[in-house]
């Protein structure tokens, strides 16, 4: 593991030196911090996302939406959770009890484990592993077997059809998603998410022409396309409209989760929302500069800000970027119709995979030809005379 593999945990270890907690080893703190991240962020996000989604849906359809529980209906998700817990614990009698029980857990584990490597702020990463992006891609693959096994265990033809569709879709769209992450890795030369975000900032110490390596999305013409491919591929990976064929309610009742009720259904829903959040957070970190505020370096501001405030601003910036993307995802749900299965596969294999490959090749040539400079840097170089500033 890298020297900063557990920044947050290291901080906790340092803080507790000299107190009665001093003998607690680092790896316990690493686990504690991972759990804290999941409980403080992933689970409430899952709940609040259902509320936001229903409010947005209501707004777009000119309804009011949930407004009974708490102010503005804000505690609707808590009421939902209580309702789910009190539902009958139903297992299809002809189904497979063991698989029925572990399938939702696989989905939740897969999506929540991705949280650990997300950089909330400059020093706020539960575990900034040095294979960061690859790690997130790896753990989120657990979702596909979770959905497939749950659909089989339900002993229901609609479920099985939904599960098979979901698995085919996730496996296919993994390819354009991975290929659209590659340009960022080519540009930054690192898989570590914290390092990738750090490179997208504005460094006041350097002359202007040398440092406008801005957000990766505007690094070169190809990354713009790669950003959109990653977003669309993320929609398909998380089974969101217009790619929600696995639970197409007009054909498959409710798809892979038809037979799931109570808390098991809740786990599936939570896993889906958390997966959406992880996808959007990854997009924000890789292409939109993560916690970096555009044009500002808070450490070298004209007044000295306390470090706690800077950390808070960073977290806020990162969450705003992520939630904006989440909002777009929810917006699309009420805007676009659902694709057919053959259109879905055609879009992936005939449209997105070739385009993503082209992007990788184009970015590689760009990085080689312009020595890693971004569009803005190249333009500034031309503007300030001759273009041969290197």
């Amino acid at each position: 593991m890298a020297n900063n593999s557990a920044l947050f945990a290291q901080t906790l270890t340092d803080w507790t030196q000299g107190t009665f907690l001093a003998p607690v080893p680092l790896w316990v703190w690493a686990m504690v911090s991972a759990l804290v991240v999941i409980y403080l962020l992933a689970l409430p996000f899952g709940g609040i996302a259902t509320y936001i989604e229903r409010k947005i849906a209501a707004d777009m359809q000119d309804r009011i939406g949930p407004n009974r529980v708490g102010p503005l209906g804000l505690f609707q998700f808590a009421a939902d959770a209580v309702k789910m817990l009190s539902k009958e614990d139903y297992v299809p009698p002809a189904g497979d009890k063991f698989l029925f029980n572990i399938a939702p857990v696989l989905v939740v584990v897969g999506s929540c484990a991705g949280f650990v490597a997300l950089p909330l702020g400059q020093y706020l990463v539960a575990g900034d592993v040095n294979i960061g992006v690859f790690y997130i891609l790896a753990v989120t693959t657990l979702i596909a077997p979770g959905i497939l096994l749950g659909s089989w265990a339900s002993e229901n033809k609609w479920s099985l059809l939904g599960g098979l569709r979901s698995a085919a879709q996730i496996v296919s769209y993994e390819i354009p998603v991975a290929l659209s992450i590659l340009p960022v890795i080519l540009i930054s030369g690192s898989l570590q998410v914290g390092e990738i975000v750090k490179q997208q900032g504005w460094n006041p110490d350097l002359p202007i022409a040398a440092n406008a390596h801005f957000w990766n999305v505007v690094h070169n013409p190809f990354t713009v396309f790669a950003f959109f491919i990653l977003f669309v591929g993320g929609l398909a990976e998380t089974n969101r409209i217009p790619f929600d064929l696995p639970e197409a309610e007009s054909e498959l009742v409710s798809g892979f989760n038809t037979e799931f009720s109570g808390m098991r259904f809740g786990l599936y829903a939570l896993g889906e929302f958390v997966d959406v959040f992880v996808m959007c957070a990854m997009l924000a970190a890789l292409y939109l500069g993560g916690w970096q505020l555009p044009f500002l370096e808070l450490d070298k501001f004209w007044i000295t800000l306390p470090s706690g405030l800077i950390a808070l601003i960073h977290v806020g910036v990162f969450l705003v970027k992520t939630l904006l993307l989440v909002f777009v995802v929810m917006w699309l749900r009420w805007t676009l119709p659902r694709l057919r299965v053959d259109q879905l596969m055609g879009l992936c294999w005939k449209g997105m995979v070739p385009l993503a490959l082209f992007n990788v090749l184009g970015t590689a040539i760009w990085v080689w030809a312009f020595k890693g400079q971004s569009m803005i840097q190249v333009a500034m170089g031309l503007f300030s005379g001759g273009g041969s500033s290197h």
């Binding site: 698989l99 040095n130 693959t141």
Partner: protein, 173 residues
């Protein structure tokens, strides 16, 4: 390395072996496939502890996200939905296979550890440095440097497998 971390490795090894046992003996082929997934995950953790971080992630992406899904797909497409129970174990090889299995484990293990003792090992400080270093960049350099020939061969193999699998599974016409 503290004892807690070693305990995680021990649990991963137990998970690997236990799941592999279920894979080998469970009569239900679907359960075998599911436990194969857990076995793959255990192997990935073992890779991680052996200083192979990139390899561990590759193991999860390729096996859990690819091979297991393919196998589950094939099982679900070839079994009638309500005839899942496969009485599978019970072939004529079962007695020789048990004998072979019981005899082969100690033999293999003994042979491999003897081999490990015979081969000259690297100095310990180099080994601890190797275990802690990130491997992604080294793997990239090796793929385009010292191991470029197998790398190219693999790309051709993968292309061939892709085309061959599509051709084999083409619809009847």
């Amino acid at each position: 390395m503290s004892n807690g971390i070693k305990l995680i490795l021990l649990l991963a090894e137990i998970l690997t072996v236990g799941s592999a046992l279920v894979v080998a003996v469970n009569p239900n082929i679907l359960y075998s496939a599911v436990f194969l997934l857990f076995s793959f995950l255990g192997v990935a953790v073992m890779f991680l502890f052996a200083g192979a971080d990139f390899l561990a992630a590759t193991q999860v992406v390729v096996y859990v996200g690819g091979v297991t899904i393919l196998i589950l797909f094939a099982i679900m497409l070839t079994q009638w939905m309500y005839r899942l129970k496969l009485r599978d174990v019970g072939s004529k090889f079962i007695v020789p296979a048990v004998v072979l299995a019981l005899g082969l484990v100690p033999m293999l293990h003994r042979g491999l550890t003897d081999l490990a003792r015979m081969v000259k090992a690297a100095p310990p400080e180099k080994m601890s440095e190797f275990a802690a270093s990130p491997k992604t960049m080294e793997i990239g350099k090796a793929l385009l440097g010292s191991h470029v020939l197998p790398f190219e061969a693999i790309t051709i193999l993968l292309l061939g497998a892709l085309v061959g699998a599509v051709w084999l599974a083409r619809p009847k016409s």
